[in-house]
Amino acid sequence: MDMFRRSLLKGVSASGALAAALAAGILKPTEVLAADEWNRAAFDSKDAGAALKAIGASSATDSKDIVLTAPEIAENGAVVPITVLSNIPNTISIALLSLKNPLPLAAAFDFSEGAMPEMQVRVRLAETTAVRALVKTADGKFFATQKEVKVTVGGCGG
């Protein structure tokens, strides 16, 4: 995994690092969600299903071991604080989607080298929507949970 250091420290092109990692057998292609190349197909998907498919997660098992903390009512849709914490062993990636946003996939993070499978983010929500947290484990399985967030002032328009 320390192949990736170069992408940060030396500015080596990220895709190069990924290719090297893949070639060296350090990474399997399915191993992480947020590897180097920005996943245009996933982030440009207009519905959550397509976005999930684009990150290889067409199906996921519901899990109570994912702790998704989001306000029941967002003070302002422009800034909704969300925390996702996975208690599922060998979690390597977490993704977050807001199902009713024009482009549902908000973020995907990969964790390694001591990084705990937990992330705090702040997202925009266009309207009242379910937010869905997706977890990927090292053996390529997907788990998910979701929560409804009520939005009174939307955060996407002008």
Binding site: E72, I73, E75, N76, V79, P81, V153, G155
Partner: protein, 296 residues
Amino acid sequence: MRIIIAFAAAIAFGVSPQLTFAQPSPAKAPAKVQKKAPAAATPAVEEPDEATKEFEKFRAQMEDSNPAELFEMKGEELWKQKRGPKNVALAESCDLGQGVGVVKGAYVGTPRYFADADAVMDAERRIVWCMVEKQGFKFDDIAKNPFHRENDPGAPDITNLVTYVAAHSKDMKIAVPLDHPRVHDAYETGKEIVNYRAGPYDFSCNTCHGSDGKRIRMQNLPNISTGKGAIKGVQGWPGYRMTGGVMLTHQWRMNDCFRQQRFPSPKYASDVVSDLLTYMIGNANGQIYRGPGIKR
């Protein structure tokens, strides 16, 4: 309607909105919610309900990492850099009332009287004065677009500077020197400005902010004539506004109140705003200022 809600939010910040639309499940509904339900028009009640508590939990998280700090960082740089036609740093030339270059406690110590300017000035106005007098910037250039607008690439320098200075009064007591005759004078004048009804809707500041327990839409309106209300009008400014992601100062808040009052625009960094702020902040004297805030 959306605009109004957003606005009201800004007016009434620091007071938790009453989320009556958040219907708690019957099993969980606290007794007092049920009790007051029929009298829906009763003014906002102070004790927090479940929704408000939930709100505050996330608010604490938001405040813990407030993007206002990004503006504060820029402000610090601007304060320390040699700038302007005179190539002078504010840190080596600007006295905000606590000594040249001293920012600690400056925000909670203003408005105050500045002999060199022969005027009572709030913190923002004083920094503008320093930029003009010490650094040689042109007042009109600063006053042209003094507030952060949504599509601007960043906040104006003055906003960053105010945020930096305000952050250095965090957790300090508000101490407007009202015993100074000129400050007292500004306070009394400010009180009259607050009372003044005019414009197409006959509004004064007091129409919304002159009595306790009032709400505009869902937003509680602080009564700025009381200590308890005035601090609510002071707290959280300058504030990072989630809507638009802009950093806005207390001067902006006053400016926008006049807009809603259907008045014309107060001139930037003028007496009418300083006096108004002297009245409101003076009424909050002795209370703790929590530093730059976050607004919805």
